[in-house]
């Protein structure tokens, strides 16, 4: 089995490592415009990995291709991959990418392929946690996702962009556009991250979750930000982003009804965002190529994967989810 990875940054490197660690995979092909970086990733992965030129037929012979480069540019490569008969795993968290990738549903399904959209920490792990939490309810009414932290430089740039652009919120059957960087809410992430101020931002989680939970009346996404993030969100990034961020977190709150009573379930996870994103994308890629994910068409992870075995596999690879047991003191 061959898996191709386009992008050898913080996430792409983790994808290559995690995919290569799967016994089902015979070869990992890593393509990056920076050939030296792709070579370095392949050396760290081992003999299974091979660096190729992204301007050539980099995905030739691949069962699945993982797109792990800057958000906002995934649609072109994904469309070409589907036309070439290759299933796609996209790590993009850009709303534009997610919308366009979901629109590939018919094309992918017609060819017997899958396009896994938003396969990273958030969206991605957030969608799986929402699906896991939703299993506790008879009816899901609300889903609220919060995310904290960034992976590599591309993720940091996307964080900056998301905070300055309108957020999408699903409310009572229609999409509302909320001003990015506003609407502060305090969200409790798993320890040791703890409580962080989170704001409306251009996050695609709601788009992906609505596909799986069309009955929900409210779906929202928020992004943790510091005062400096908010102060500088309206101007271009003033300095070069860090090579990789520190620990990040995701928190998913699901409200619904069980046995006629209203209840709330809160799940979360902490990890380095690039490591978590790479692991999520790698497991999806391996499961797609081995048939453990048999869905066809384009969708988010809440629609594509069975949450319990998926979370179990993530835990085995070191990405551990947690549940909040308690209640705020009023």
């Amino acid at each position: 089995m061959r898996v191709a990875v386009l992008g050898a940054g913080a996430v792409g490197a983790r994808v290559a490592q995690q995919v290569a660690a799967s016994p089902e995979v015979d070869e990992v092909v890593v393509a990056d415009t920076d050939g030296g970086r792709a070579e370095a990733v392949c050396r760290s992965v081992g003999a299974q990995a091979r660096a190729v030129d992204p301007r050539g037929p980099w995905s030739e012979g691949a069962d699945v291709a993982v797109l792990a480069f800057d958000a906002g540019r995934h649609v072109g490569p994904a469309t070409r991959l589907v036309e070439a008969g290759v299933s796609v795993v996209s790590t993009s968290s850009a709303i534009g990418d997610v919308r366009a990738l979901l629109a590939l549903d018919a094309a992918a399904a017609g060819r017997g392929l899958a396009v896994a959209v938003g396969a990273s920490m958030a969206p991605g792990l957030s969608c799986v946690l929402a699906a896991h939490a939703a299993a506790r309810f008879d009816v899901v009414h609300e889903i609220h996702v919060a995310r904290m932290g960034t992976g590599g430089p591309a993720c940091a740039r996307q964080h900056h962009h998301a905070l300055h652009h309108d957020a999408l919120e699903w409310r009572d059957g229609e999409w509302l556009e909320r001003r990015g960087g506003a609407g502060r809410e305090l969200s409790w992430f798993p320890d040791p991250v703890g409580a962080r101020d989170c704001y409306q931002a251009a996050l695609p989680d709601a788009l992906l979750l609505l596909q799986r939970f069309p009955e929900a009346t409210r779906i929202s996404g928020r992004l943790a930000a510091t005062r400096r993030d908010r102060f500088t969100m309206g101007v271009p990034m003033l300095r070069r982003p860090h090579p990789e961020g520190r620990v990040g977190a995701v928190r998913v709150e699901v409200r619904g009804q069980r046995d006629g009573a209203s209840e709330t379930a809160v799940y979360g996870a902490i990890d380095r965002p690039a490591a978590a994103a790479g692991t999520v994308a790698a497991v999806v890629a391996v499961w797609l190529s081995t048939g453990r994910i048999d869905a066809r068409g384009a969708g988010g992870l809440a629609a594509l994967v069975d949450p319990v075995p998926f979370l179990s596999e993530l835990a085995r690879r070191g990405v551990k989810a947690a549940v909040f047991e308690g209640a705020p003191v009023t």
Binding site: R184, V308, V323
Partner: protein, 64 residues
């Protein structure tokens, strides 16, 4: 020709012309508004509310 305030019967007090006074007031109002907005925008929440309970890692029975 220059006319002193006292000659105009203003008792020596100097009055700014009306447009200048309005301009100063507008600048002052904008400044105060900007200051208040900056403080509101950047200040913290004033502490973290208490909570009971805590996070528990999913394991074993949770993932079967």
């Amino acid at each position: 020709m220059f006319t002193s305030d006292s000659a105009l019967g203003l008792g020596g007090r100097r009055y700014a012309a009306r447009p200048v006074k309005s301009f100063r007031r507008a600048v002052l109002a904008l400044g105060v508004t900007g200051l208040v907005a900056a403080v509101l925008r950047l200040r913290g929440t004033g502490g973290v509310p208490p909570q009971s309970g805590g996070w528990r890692e999913l394991s074993g029975p949770d993932l079967r």
